[in-house]
């Protein structure tokens, strides 16, 4: 039976009516947020101390400069290259006897200026060996299967490796930007044991970032990840701290759940709402530093900075490693090229959208992949075992 849209329609109407009612309240909260950000003192030392000393239940961005600063769009270099990688995967199917997963990595290099050039490619990689299917703790113990969230993280690492490959073959004279989709922060690892972080972050992602940083010493190479329509509230939470009446904010101590909180007047506002009101098209915000625990513990010289960028009718979050953030030339290159990519891509970086097109694995591709595995098993006279649930989904009857 397909989805009964007539039954859903009434629920949709009620949902929209609810949103409409909340609009005036949301607008009021946004005004409060904007008034707060625009009335912060120029000297932010006290606020920095308050953030550092505070014990909040939400993550607060580290601030580096005035929160409401705006930077105009820098000029573009005459010739430049943008490289990007994106991935897609087919997860382990626990209903099938053959345990394996596939990562398809799309890689793109676009060169603009006097010698325009494009390279588009995709690399599918099948993983089926024991060492690929599980991460084993040193000295033995309970291993971590590579599937679900962990596979998603492994895919991010593979994307970063593809960027390294692309960067290594770039012509040295052109300034270049390496782009990833989403966040540089491997949040997903926070729920897993340290040996998983060792394998995927320390010996995976961060190694790639080390290499990219190494490349940037010999040439102008910046690295950024692009988050479209971000939901983050890291900067909004700075404002919560700023308006907190307690000298040292401590949510659990002063504001247990049954008590009202002064900062509730900012509920529901996101960073993007604030910066949509602050920034003009092409402008970027001040730089902030991610407060994420995993960044603090592991990223070191790749500590994740971020800024917001106004791209037409949208605010994007751009994350960059510390070495790119502290180098004004690379920071400006990132700002200019990310915006330019969005202009060329009608609102989203064209290199990322092409990398995605290279990587995408459709529903039909997944089915073809499953059939390929099964037909190869048959050719080799091996049994094709699959679960009853899987079979019932594929062969439907009345």
């Amino acid at each position: 039976m397909s989805l009964d849209l007539t039954k859903v329609a009434t629920q949709v109407i009620n949902m929209i009516a609810g949103l409409k009612e909340k609009r005036a309240e949301q607008e009021k909260r946004l005004r409060y947020a904007l008034n707060t950000i625009n009335s912060l003192p120029i000297d932010l030392d006290d606020l920095k101390k308050k953030i550092k000393a505070g014990r909040t239940t939400w993550l607060v961005a580290e601030i580096t400069e005035g929160l409401n600063l705006r930077y105009p769009l820098p000029p573009l270099p005459p010739d430049f290259t943008v490289i990007a990688a994106d991935g897609s995967h087919i997860d382990v199917d626990r209903h099938q006897s053959t345990r394996c997963y596939l990562i398809n990595t799309g890689a793109v290099a676009l060169t603009y200026g006097s010698k325009p050039e494009a390279t588009l490619s995709s690399t599918p990689q099948l993983y089926s060996e024991d060492k690929d299917l599980a991460i084993t703790p040193p000295g033995g113990g309970r291993e971590q299967m590579v599937e679900g969230t962990v596979l998603g993280v492994k895919r991010s690492v593979e994307e970063c490796k593809a960027l390294v490959d692309l960067a290594s073959s770039l012509p040295p004279q052109n300034p270049a930007l390496a782009l990833l989709d989403g966040t540089l922060i491997l949040w997903g690892l926070e729920a897993y044991p340290d040996f998983v972080t060792d394998a995927l972050l320390i010996n995976g992602m961060l190694k790639c970032l080390d290499t990219l940083k190494g490349f940037s010493k010999d040439r102008r190479l910046a690295l950024a990840s692009y988050i479209s329509y971000p939901r983050s509230t890291d900067v909004l939470n700075v404002l919560r701290v700023a308006i907190c009446p307690n000298d040292v904010p401590d949510c659990d101590k002063f504001c247990p759940p049954e008590h009202g909180r002064d900062c509730e007047g900012l509920n529901g506002v996101r960073d993007r709402d604030i910066f949509m009101n602050l920034l003009e098209d092409g402008e970027r915000s001040a730089l902030f530093i991610s407060p994420s625990k995993i960044v603090k513990n592991y990223y070191n010289e790749h500590k994740v900075y971020f800024f917001y960028l106004r791209v037409g009718g949208e605010i994007a979050r751009v994350e960059i490693p510390q070495w790119a953030a502290e180098n004004e030339e690379l920071l400006n290159l990132t700002h200019g090229l990310v915006f330019d990519q969005c202009q060329r891509g009608h609102g989203y970086p064209v290199a990322l959208s092409e990398a995605h097109e290279q990587a995408v694995v459709t529903g039909a591709d997944r089915e073809n992949f499953r059939e390929l595995v099964e037909s190869t098993l048959t050719e080799e006279h091996l049994p094709i075992a699959s679960s009853g649930k899987s079979a019932s989904k594929r062969t439907r009857w009345v």
Binding site: L110, Y112, P116, E117, A118, L120, R344, E354, E357
Partner: protein
Amino acid sequence: MRSINTEVSPKIAEVIEASIVEFTAQCYELYEVPPLGALVKTGDIYGIVSNSETTGLEPGRKPIARGKDETSEEAVYESSPQLSKLLRSHFTAVVVGYKRDDRIHQHLSPQPARIHGFVYLCPPEEVEEFSKSFTFLNILLNAYAPIPVEELIFATLKQMGHVRDDSRSFLVAAGKELAKQLSSNITRLKNILEKLK
């Protein structure tokens, strides 16, 4: 299975669809399609280009207008260098004969072209040799083409005439052959002959 191409002249395209009556080939270079009516060859099969088009590489991705703020058409491609990798030019050729034991046969090949077979534009001397006989005109007259068959025949004979010193007498001879084959369809014959004047 048909023999694999071993031609040495530059290949222009590669077969991506093939049947007994026609084959479609993707060009290696964007927009570098052979002209309508050109004689092409893949393996030992000859074809006459009956249609060509340039489209998005993937069926779900349609090209969009990009040049509003650009000063020239070249600038559109320069500011989006990926376009040349995302568009493809391809053409369809009607099968009009094949070569076996060094002899040209002007009728359908017993087997279709190979997928991924390289496609070559026939050099003038081969065009001249092929067009010594007009039997292929009958195949064209009965071909299923997305363009009017009269246009296809006109374009083909023009292309074949170009490689000859005396194209006039070639076209006259072709006209006589058409008059024989179209004796029962005077209107069609008139249409073609009008174009050949």
